[in-house]
């Protein structure tokens, strides 16, 4: 049985093409994925991301626990509301999930995890908490928030349109710095996203989701499906869990070394597997130079330093050419010419450093 978000009937009434995504019945587009993509780069679009799971850590000891459980260091979070992107690692360094952690109060941290991995993550957290409780005493309480819906409003005009649609939101979010969130009654507004554009992610009680969605639509925000979400995040050089990384790879070979804090003396799960071991592979960007197809996941890449593989590929509406993330030998550098096997041919591609586009502008091409 597929799971449905509180906005499922709204998507169907709008004529969305629905697909299965991690066990959820989700809209892939409402007509043209490319037009939805451009709406986010140039104006404002919204995504139902209620399938993502909010997990709250309540009570004392949350910071200590996350300092141990996450590869990035929650001690970077000094101001209430500040968010941190991090991987959740196995002892062997494999990536269990990527997530955002918000520091709200010393006795309240909020995590947002991926839909397809939520149950696995929660089980992993409970296991770590139980082990620490036995060794060290009281641990924070983990609360999985299935009662919340989440809507991402993204694009250069997302801010003003949200303020129009949601009374009171301007007062509490106008001064909100990027990668920070703030409570607004029983809702939570964060200046975060997965598109490379400015905007907000709003978490709110599920019964209020349809009201906010229709108010946003009245304010001129275009409904966008998971298709546009994927091309936007790929242009922005952001990884998709399960595609660009999973439990068989570590963050250092996934373009995420910047999120792993190996400098501080703290112990964290996965540290021993990563410290002092430079990766043999890297995750980097490709742009297709030749005509003759579209870069796709699992295509083989031939480089002067050895073989690699594309992990995510698509046609970039902003660059008007095909782009990809690929796991390649570590010695490959931006500018290198490589060959990608597409059907019965090898097509020329060039290595570039992601992101490909951000804030409405093409960067690499």
């Amino acid at each position: 049985m597929q799971r449905q978000t509180p906005l499922n009937a709204v998507h169907r009434a709008a004529g969305a093409r629905m697909v299965d995504f991690g066990g959820w019945d989700m809209p892939v587009n409402y007509g043209s994925q490319i037009e939805e993509h451009h709406a986010v780069r140039n104006d404002a679009g919204m995504f139902d991301v209620s399938h993502m799971r909010v997990v709250d850590l309540e009570g004392s000891g949350g910071r200590d626990f996350l300092r141990y459980a996450l590869a990035n260091n929650v001690d970077k979070l000094k101001t209430p509301g500040k968010a941190l992107y991090s991987c959740l690692l196995r002892e062997d360094g494999g990536v269990i999930d990527d997530l955002i952690a918000y520091f709200l109060r010393e006795d309240f941290f909020r995590l947002v995890v991926n839909a397809g991995t939520a149950d696995k993550d929660i089980a992993w957290f409970r296991q770590l908490l139980a082990a620490r409780a036995a060794a060290q005493g009281t641990q924070p309480v983990l609360v999985a928030r299935a009662d919340l819906a989440m809507i991402a409003v993204q694009g250069p005009h997302a801010r003003t349109k949200l303020w129009q649609a949601l009374p009171g939101s301007e007062a509490c979010s106008a001064a909100l710095p990027p990668f920070t969130g703030v409570a607004m009654g029983d809702a939570f507004i964060a200046r975060t996203g997965y598109t490379g554009e400015d905007g907000f992610e709003i978490m709110l009680p599920a019964p209020r989701a349809t009201g906010l969605w229709s108010a946003l639509q009245s304010a001129g925000v275009r409904p966008c499906g998971l298709g546009a979400r994927d091309t936007l995040r790929l242009e922005a050089g952001m990884n998709l869990y399960g595609q660009d990384m999973d439990e068989t790879v570590n963050p250092l070979e996934s373009g995420l070394a910047w999120t792993v804090d190996l400098a501080s003396p703290r112990a964290f799960v996965g540290k021993a597997a990563l410290a002092g071991k430079p990766p043999a592979r890297q995750l980097t960007g490709l742009v297709l130079v030749d005509k003759g197809g579209v870069l796709r996941a699992h295509q083989t890449v031939r480089t002067a330093q050895g073989m690699g593989e594309i992990t995510s590929g698509t046609f970039s509406p902003t660059l008007n050419q095909s782009i990809a993330l690929a796991r390649l030998p570590a010695a490959v550098v931006p500018g290198d010419a490589v060959q990608v096997a597409i059907r019965d041919r090898e097509l020329a591609a060039r290595v570039v450093k992601p992101p490909f586009a951000r804030n409405g502008k093409a960067l690499a091409g």
Binding site: S32, I34, G293, F315, R343
Partner: protein, 127 residues
């Protein structure tokens, strides 16, 4: 979905129009273009290529995925729609105007044995 009554169809979502000169014109159905999403690349067979029925001989790629296009009948490729190279999106705009290629069938009666509009509608669950 639009399924014109004057065309023949395949279960793999090609449409086929028999022309007065004995050739057949082939494209993808409206149902197929909607399922694929925005097309960004089309690869067509070489003119002169001889294809068997149900042989993969063209590729359409959308933002989402690549899909093979199959020859509905055996024959020789006599023309391809050059406009698709620069503007593959015309397939999304009008799937029945934006043809892909034309075949000279080996068996002139073969196209008449393909699915009619009602039978195709049944295969896509819209009968």
């Amino acid at each position: 979905m639009n399924v014109p009554g004057n065309l023949r169809y395949t279960a793999s979502h090609e449409w086929v129009r028999s022309e007065a000169d004995g050739t057949v014109t082939i494209g993808v159905t409206d149902h197929a273009q909607a399922a694929l999403g925005d097309l960004v690349y089309v690869e067509l067979p070489a003119v002169g290529r001889v294809v068997a029925a149900e042989e993969a001989c063209a590729v359409v790629e959308s933002v989402k995925a690549a899909s093979d296009i199959y020859a509905p009948v055996a024959g020789e490729v006599v023309a391809v729609n050059e406009a698709l190279a620069g503007t593959p999106e015309i397939v999304n705009e009008d799937a029945y105007a934006a043809w892909l290629f034309k075949l000279k069938p080996a068996d002139p009666t073969a196209a008449g044995k393909l699915l009619d509009a009602a039978a195709y509608q049944a295969t896509i669950g819209e009968a």
